[in-house]
């Protein structure tokens, strides 16, 4: 439909002639600006929620998918022997991609944050840690435990990362809820703008009649309404996004610990993403108003 291209061009080209056809009205215009603003504000949070839970789901899924640890506590020389035994055992365990004993330096690095760097680790009975990386659908934890008990009594399998499984699932579901909320927000925006546009069209019905009678075409008449509602929505939504971004920005952030609430924000280039919202809202307003205008005009000859 070539009329659409013209309509889009008319949107950016100011035309005082067509603009003044519709009298400025109080309530309807504020309803549009306000709705667009509030909806965009809420959409910023829905977007932040989606992105944050997406990040969380990915991080958790990654971490738990792939690693667990085996801890070996034993007397002096026993440690080395049992480590050998466990590594040999793991090499023949289905579902284990690789296993690696952590070096002393690596273990020390793990402990420093908790105990400080001047701790005489040599004097402490630090257990040896073995990092197990899984493959496929993972290994059978119960079977491995039984075999470890038989071969290396000092070894304890720690697969506690597995408790995160349901959480990761919840996080990924939360992400879809976020996207769903975003869609609902856009749909609501469209519905309210349709309502406001219909009210405005009905209030100005006599104007539509006069314009039709003197030979104005539908697209020309619709344009005045479409332009007005689209620009109002764009302005309202942009304001809403600014407010939403400020609100997200001033949330306390603690990204390093990866907590969920403190992770509710944008990072890097995702700060740009919310700026798509005013554009989306404007597109919704454009389509909704144009449809409403043509529907109204079709009732007249």
């Amino acid at each position: 439909m070539s009329g659409l291209g013209t309509a889009l061009r008319d949107l950016v080209r100011p035309d005082p002639g067509a603009d003044r056809l519709v009298p400025p009205t109080g309530m309807g215009s504020w309803l549009t600006v306000f709705t667009a603003g509030v909806m965009a504000f809420l959409a910023v949070f829905a977007l932040a929620l989606s992105l944050a839970s997406g990040r969380l789901a990915d991080r958790w899924a990654d971490a738990l998918a792939r690693t667990s640890t085996i801890r070996i506590s034993a007397e002096g020389a026993q440690v080395a022997a049992q480590t050998e035994a466990v590594l040999a055992l793991l090499a023949t365990t289905p579902g284990v991609a690789s296993a690696r004993a952590l070096s002393e330096t690596e273990e020390r690095a793990l402990l420093v944050p908790w105990f400080g760097s001047d701790l005489p680790l040599e004097d402490l009975p630090i257990p040896q840690l073995i990092e197990v990386t899984e493959e496929g659908s993972g290994y059978d934890a119960e079977g491995l435990r039984l075999r470890l008990e038989a071969e290396a009594p000092g070894a304890v399998l720690d697969d506690h990362a597995r408790w995160r499984q349901p959480l990761a699932e919840a996080a990924s579901r939360l992400r879809f809820l976020g996207w769903g909320a975003l869609l609902l927000i856009l749909a609501t925006t469209g519905a309210i703008i349709t309502l406001a546009a219909n009210a405005s069209l009905s209030a100005n019905e006599s104007i539509l009649k006069v314009l039709r009678q003197i030979g104005a075409q539908d697209a020309y008449i619709a344009r005045a309404f479409v332009r007005r509602f689209t620009l109002r929505t764009l302005g309202g939504a942009a304001t809403g996004v600014v407010c939403g971004l400020i609100a997200v920005w001033i949330l306390p952030s603690g990204d390093t610990t990866g907590g969920f609430l403190t992770g509710l924000g944008f990072s890097g280039s995702s700060w740009l993403l919310p700026w798509l919202l005013p554009v989306l809202c404007a597109i919704v307003a454009f389509v909704a108003t144009r449809a409403a205008a043509f529907r109204k005009l079709a009732e007249m000859t």
């Binding site: 030979g215 104005a216 020309y220 000859t301």
Partner: protein
Amino acid sequence: MIAFENVAYSYGGGELLSGVDLTLQPGSFHFLTGPSGAGKSTLLKLCYGELLSTKGRVVLFDRDIRGVGRDGLARMRRRVGVVQQDCQFLDHLSVAANVTLPLSVTGREGDPQDLSDLLGWVGLTHLAGARPPQLSGGERQRAALARAVITSPDVMLADEPTGNLDWEMSLRLLTLLVELNRMGKTILIATHDMNLIRAAKTQVAARVLRIKGGRVELAGAEL
């Protein structure tokens, strides 16, 4: 210019007009009379497609009004000047802006001199900046007539254009319409005013149509 072929119209009840056959030749001047409620306004609205006939065909500029589509109808209406009985305006715009509206909706700019000449002729110069709600009934009719003729349309349809005017102003407007007719425009005026018809007959070869019992007939020389 305009042809009715066996046209009938009903607002939902019985047929208000039926079996109407009518041809308005280019450059002709017609009056349409009949008692109040006979269907004069209805017939004018059928001419430019505000109403669509319930039976028969209405042909405008050699094209069936039903077949031209919405945009086609809009384009045809630019060649028709209409003065309705209850003239409507864009109340938030000035009288001058309303009068030039038919030009601006088609992206044309009016000649300011033409506008002031026209407003002068219909006696509205002093009200050019006023809003339509401030106008009297007669002033509204004159503004509507100015709006109808500003595009110099091929056909003029006027519904009781002198209904609220004194005799002197009525004659002025009649002169304007007669002038347009001399330029080759087709004119159709619905009116009750027999004096107006008589006055017109002294200037042009005007014919009188009468709606009677739902049909349109040519009134004889009895006037």
